[in-house]
């Protein structure tokens, strides 16, 4: 799952440690989420989004095919049907 945590932190001059303290997890967990090595639970995703005063969709993006995020991608028209 992609996310904008690193960017949002940078905009607010916030360190991983400070974010970790705010949402009550370890700094390693924040680092793993940012690097997309670990997907947070829904309650943790809500805590992070609430901290940045954004919705979950503004912070996290599903990168699986066939989801709403990928549906918004540019549609390449297919060739003529046989």
């Amino acid at each position: 799952m992609k996310n904008r945590i690193k960017v949002l932190r940078a905009e607010r001059n916030m360190t991983q440690e400070e974010l970790a303290i705010e949402v009550q997890v370890s700094r390693q967990t924040i680092n793993a989420i940012e690097k997309q090595k670990f997907d947070p639970s829904l309650p943790l995703a809500f805590r992070i989004s609430r901290l940045f005063q954004l919705t979950i969709e503004d912070v996290f993006h599903d990168d699986q095919p066939g989801t709403s995020d990928s549906a918004n991608a540019t549609i390449i028209p297919s060739g003529p049907r046989m």
Partner: protein
């Protein structure tokens, strides 16, 4: 922010300290129960029963403290621990059964001891925990 940090870190540190005390205490009572009959009380039945009873009670305490420590971890730390425990449990069951069969079939020249199984589980858990921690770095 500072207060929150101190609270969370203090709780985690306290849980780790308690777990260390209880694990150390359990290991001591295990050693006492194992070596006491021969070296300390000359196989006195009542003292042996008492030592084993104390060891079991402290062991139950250790399990409860371990559960509290586990529940105090954050979700990623819990996942790393759970993965390590799953691998250690599997290694214990599969390795233990294979080891027991080797003994039963007289393939190995010595008796299969439960202590060896405990060591296998502990080492497997430790390695799996380290590998899991590195994976999420």
């Amino acid at each position: 922010m500072e207060t929150k940090s101190n609270e969370w870190e203090a709780t985690t540190r306290k849980n780790v300290r308690h777990l260390a005390y209880w694990t150390g205490g359990w290991a001591l009572t295990i050693a006492l129960s194992a070596f006491g009959p021969k070296f300390l009380w000359d196989y006195n039945f009542s003292i042996s029963i008492l030592a084993i009873l104390v060891s079991t009670i402290i062991g139950v305490g250790m399990i409860l403290v371990n559960r509290k420590y586990f529940n105090g971890l954050d979700e990623m730390q819990r996942k790393v621990n759970m993965d390590a425990m799953a691998i250690a449990l599997g290694a214990g069951v599969v390795g233990g059964m294979s080891y027991s069969m080797l003994d039963a079939a007289h393939v190995i020249s010595f008796d299969a001891e439960i202590g060896h199984l405990v060591m296998l589980i502990s080492i497997t858990y430790f390695i799996a925990f380290i590998v899991g921690s590195i994976r999420y770095k």
